[in-house]
Point group: D2
Chain length 484, copies 4
């Protein structure tokens, strides 16, 4: 077994020959599609990291796994210590900084750690054998060094109704037929980040199911090229700039994200790939654990993208000739402060982690939710401050097409000249990168996903309320005041 590098990974995805609907076309050469390619390149960074020249970086991306008995890419690792949890966050920050976008591979890592401990608990209570099945399955993932997409979010239909009470029962993914050797499912998963860059998907319920909803309490894994699965590509703001030549206006020249609506139209799942089927209490527990791991993740990846935004903003300030203005310096300090506060939450929930009965490590639940709630706020303020420093050109700059025009081009270069040693085209590049993150395709991951990924703010608030220890605090105050 060998840890893949980025090139090998890209080939392995090409070999899957996945198909998808993209902007009204059924596309079958996705890995060469200009809308898709940048997102594949971003995932490839998670492979190349394990082969980085410097040992410190390699150490972030590699871990020894007792499960398969070998060194694995950390993105497939089941965390064994708080040190593992801390390294996970640092690795994510590294990838965010390297790509300036969502690199998509965290979801599967977070799902695996949640399924690992939840199946253990379920087996102990219900006498099922999901944990052994999952260990076999995941050991194979580690050995082949695959990308697994964790798939959780159902369409949900009318939010005021339970799954079983929807007009269309498929609005939550469910078992529609049971066979001796497996089950058949129908439904869809929305917002699937990086799905078409994955080899496998690990499907989980979207919330805790209640009595009468056993068919919806299903967790399983299938290859992404399983018959009956349909993919419809999600749009991002300014996405088609990736199709333009010259490519400058895309902002991020090499990397990007991917969101896919994934439909299951009578998909067969073999028995050995089922990890939960009707054990109601474990549906909710699985959701909570996955969510907490993923809320931790945002304390790494978004911080890395924040680093890119801060760097670009500092660069444009210098190019504009205002880097020494005290209010500019102060705004950059504020950006760093907010970004590091996010990082602190990611690190803290990791350092305060604890082992599960199954043996892998779990983050501190309260602090992981605190981390994510900060992620629903601070990137927006970072984007606002970047918009402030970058200047109005962010919204009014001519297109790169005109840059090459013999009449318009020279005017643009003449009038976008700024600080003495700055090439106007370099200045445009930096501005387009900032635009990409605050109001372009990068904003989908940096702002919208920061709000909704791993659950919207209200989901975190509910968990914080539950885990905040209010009763104990009241008891302590009563004692201090000698109040009954």
């Amino acid at each position: 077994m060998a840890l893949k590098n980025g090139r090998e990974y890209q080939q392995s995805i090409e070999d899957l020959a996945l198909e998808a609907h993209v902007m009204g076309q059924a596309e079958s050469h996705l890995t060469r599609h200009p809308l898709v390619r940048p997102s594949l390149a971003a995932v490839a960074v998670t492979y190349d990291g394990a082969h980085a020249e410097d040992a410190a970086t390699r150490d972030l991306f590699r871990a020894h796994s007792p499960l398969c008995g070998e060194e694995v890419n950390r993105f497939t690792h089941l965390h064994r210590s708080t040190d593992d949890l801390v390294k996970k966050v640092k690795m994510q920050r590294y990838c965010g900084l390297a790509t300036g976008c969502c690199f998509q591979r965290c979801v599967g890592m977070d799902a695996a750690n949640a399924v690992f401990s939840t199946t253990y608990d379920c087996d102990a209570a219900c006498g099922t054998d999901y944990h052994a099945r999952f260990k076999t399955y995941w050991s194979g993932i580690q050995e082949k060094d695959l990308v697994v997409d964790g798939a959780m979010t159902d369409p949900k239909g009318d939010r005021g109704r339970r799954p079983k009470d929807q007009r269309d029962p498929d609005l939550f993914l469910r078992v529609v037929e049971r066979r001796r050797d497996g089950v058949v499912v129908c439904g869809a998963k929305l917002h699937q980040t990086g799905m078409l860059n994955a080899h496998e998907m690990l499907v989980m319920p979207t919330m805790g199911m209640k009595a009468g909803e056993e068919d919806w309490a299903i967790c399983f894994a299938v290859p992404t090229n399983t018959p009956g699965i349909r993919y419809i590509y999600g749009r991002q703001t300014s996405d088609t700039r990736k199709l333009e030549t010259p490519a400058l206006d895309a902002g991020n020249p090499r990397f990007g994200g991917q969101e896919v609506m994934t439909v299951f139209d009578r998909v067969f799942v073999p028995r050995e790939r089922i990890f939960l089927d009707g054990e109601l209490p474990y549906s909710g527990r699985l959701v909570e654990r996955f969510a907490a791991y993923h809320r931790q993740s945002y304390g790494g990846c978004k911080v890395g993208v924040g680093d890119v935004l801060i760097g670009a903003t500092a660069l444009i300030a210098r190019m504009n000739g205002v880097a020494q203005a005290s209010h500019i310096k102060d705004k950059l300090v504020e950006m760093i402060h907010l970004n590091e506060t996010l990082f602190a939450s990611g690190i803290a929930c990791s350092a305060m982690g604890h082992p599960t009965p199954a043996g892998n490590f779990e983050i501190d639940m309260l602090l992981a939710n605190v981390c994510k709630l900060n992620v629903t706020r601070f990137p927006f303020e970072l984007a606002r401050l970047a918009t402030d420093i970058a200047g109005g050109l962010l919204g009014t700059m001519p297109s790169a097409h005109d840059l090459e025009d013999p009449v318009a081009g020279p005017y643009i270069k003449k009038y976008l000249a700024a600080a003495e040693d700055t090439d106007p085209v370099d200045r445009i590049k930096v501005l387009r990168l900032i635009e990409n993150l605050v109001a372009g395709s990068g904003a989908v991951a940096y702002l919208i996903e920061s709000m909704h990924g791993a659950g919207p703010p209200m989901a975190q608030r509910i968990m914080i309320g539950r885990q905040g220890g209010l009763e104990e605090k009241m008891a302590r105050v009563k004692r201090l005041l000698d109040v009954a």
Copy 2:
């Protein structure tokens, strides 16, 4: 004389036969260009308002002008009272709500009021005759009911250097030749909102000029189709969605904004159209006054666009079936609160206005700057709250092209169904409108322009510091404390 309606206005612009570089092409039929048309339609609303069916609306859009002795469109009015100033803000809110975007006609109105009083002051001090020239000029504008673009922002080059010290002296627009009958100018104006939907432009210096910078202290008006002027169209995030069929993904189906880089390559300006030429102190005064009027404007227009965002957000909450959740209601209240706080600043600086020596009315300078500083903050929080309520689909929804695909379309409609009486396509429309405002082409006006239009936040802070009465407050405290 008659007040034009929207249709007549659009024809009058078509008659100008303006040309521009747009996305690498030299275009000469701009009014039919799908990137331009929505912006023209938005300006047309400022004309149709004067012909609204209800008297109250007409009253907002019409005013009696002593200058030309007739009833004029308020967008060409020189304000005669605080009531006029208040009505201006209400009219702008009306237009913002009607279009959901920037309707572009405020800049000229604000420039005219600033030039009117500044030329008066200049003449009184310097014995020039600019005020009479300007009255003649503006009377014609009122009679013909024209759109005038106010053009202020120079490219500025290295922000650490004065105009006269730039490597390229054209980085601030300047007089390069003086003739008996006028002057020849070179330079550029960036971020020109709606320039190609204007009949005329009123060019002003971008800051207070100092000794040795007389050639840069120039204010004048020229028709937009004057020889030597070149236009290069500015890009907006997701702009090319306006070129797509179906058009649904554009978000705002009818209206949009426009930003134009405007280059002056040896443009001749006849003597009677020059309103300032080298009188240094009046360059700064003009900038300050224009800025203050325009900062007031944002207390109207952005509030109207905020109304659209709030309405769309409330609508999507209802469609998602969560309109009754207490945290949703509370977030909508917060959005209204912030939006009305902006409005309050716009109204307050108007109600506290005062007459100038020239006879028109000026807003309260301190409160106008306070108004704009709030505009650099609250729309960003409104956008964040809208992103929260709208849900993750904002960043992951499939394209409208797939909606019509026989395979993908039915899946999309099946899985984007929500509250019982909601058509999934209507739901998509509302989400695309929100996307337009928080991360699409509408965000250029609603967020980026809110930050930088009429000057960035630091410009307002400087004015607030100057006008905040700190010395008097200290004196009062000393008296209270009996401190020397």
Copy 3:
């Protein structure tokens, strides 16, 4: 008739010979009590303002009243125009700046304007004669230029229960006996600002009453020295510093606030002083109107106190030798900006006011609530910024007693010396004033009352939700999108 001055006013209060429980003592010479005297002096400023030397100030404090046919102190005025409403706010800012505290006389003015229009509406609908009674009553108040305390807030007991369902029915003030010539009431009013500096009190229900709660729907006026009324003085943080000699540590050397728990133990109210008695719908309307007027008031008075805090903060920065540091200047700008945003809300709800059927003017209800909601936020941030600039001495400075000690005093003066021309004792005075406002007795009015006076933030949010025009905004968006 003559407008009283401050001295005459103070004598008139002394003549009432009010009694109260103060810090465990039954006190009967209140006007000479050092805890009370500063609050009386603050009210006196509202009288002296009408006799100010400069005409502009007098104009703020005086208005012609058609009710009594004479010029009255504006604090007793029924507003006749939006200009009146704007002047009210300016007058309040003036008083706040003059005293640096709550000057207590607004409540009655706001109550009178609410009772005036509500009794008119009630009479029109119910055939009662409350409006005539109130006009007679209030005409006398104007003629005698009296202070009337508006008394609204009941104790409320268990907030989860209606008035009629409380274990103790007196927890909301109510009629306990009806006689031919009047009624007898029991109950209490909490948080009565300035009650012991008032000649009269105007008692209102604390919320809209419902069927079965007719006895609680009572509005009336009585003199403050009416038998059966008991007063218990409220504590303020650091209040007893006013009892110390030297007085320096009190912070505000001349003025202060006053809060009084007011108990009604079988108090008789004659018929002609009753202005509502059981007409349920008008209880809620009265509360809403009074609250709105009072929420407007905070856009004036708290801004004036904010001016004092800003002035003191600028002064201490100068004394510390840091006035030119860019971050200090920027924080002062932020303080001014927030303070003026409050003012803008106060002015805007006034300028957008409208006449009531009764003939007096009412503020814009939505904007008045927006104003108050800002008041529950910005003073806290102003206090935080003042704490930042003032420095740690704010919390660690030795007492004024030690300043006079022959051993300690010289050390204090030696080591609290700062910028060259600053007397250390002056520096202490300024720091004690800031302490007074951010964490001393002044903080009761500037922070706690800003939060809860005229209702806590949730009360404003409910009104904003109701008045924010959400349905119309949604309708406009539907039209824009062509959505059914």
Copy 4:
């Protein structure tokens, strides 16, 4: 050797027979003085913690010290690992929650760790022997389990001038005479938290000294009862409530803080107690390190006090009968979220710590500054939210003296009754505790010290700017964009 308990500690302080000026009196029985006693009791908690019944708590308060070869109280420990650093923060949170105030013993612990590593560096570079001296000194502290106050903040005089350029050179503490066996110093240290509850003080320079300022670059330790040292007690808002009977109005019935102005009037320091004397570069390094350790500390202690405020706020909500209102629950969640974000910063800078060349562990400098900058913000918002939930009584409640009055008392109890099972006096206790923290004597530590302790926000911003890695971020962005 034995770890002292609280009682033994209090006796040991009494044995020192310290004297101070308190409110104009020279006091010599400080430990029995009602203004001082609560602060002594708070420090005693740091001793009793080491004798807690449960092993987990004892483990927080005890550590094995290689320096003295024994188990020591962690407050005297030189941290040996990141685990030690994390435990330090948890211990501080424990003490904050137990006391609801500042327990004063952190300063010495933070100073010792900074002096330990800085003397090591200084010796290595300059050939001095400070490190050995300090080890001997500190080993004795550990063995005797003493409280050492770290003393850093000089009066500073005119902030615009260097120490050597002040009119009075004593405004920064300095050596005024050099003798064979030691030095004589003059000056003062302001804001000395808990100084009169300490056995020893460790004096450090207040900032990095420059050439010509060698006499100000002095670090040493002396017993608190050294001749020539004078103490002047600092006032706190509402401090004299601690002198009242009944004591209820003090808010925190058992614990409190202490701030002391400490004057050095020709104090002799023996040679072996000098740890820096003129080695300029190490003065700045010492300040930076001490500050960073102390900024970490605030991520523990203020979080514990925050727990008390949250608990009290939840309790008053329950007593008021509003605990189930959704907006109340949401505000409590916000309080918990902010408080845990502080904790996360404290934990993160600890978990990311590293060994120094001297062998003890240092926190991550960047994150420690981020932690403290959050401390200058979030407690203020927690206080604001507590003020919101607590209700207006916070500022208007009658005094405890009236509670015992035969006339007033029954009225107060009748009208302050709230939810069914709530004793009105208990309700008053909870409100007085909240008042103590948001606007009473507890606010000195919870708000003012949160702002200024370990340096004001600007000090943290400077460090964040320096350590934020801006250059590297820019380099990474350039690489991503292929920009030169």
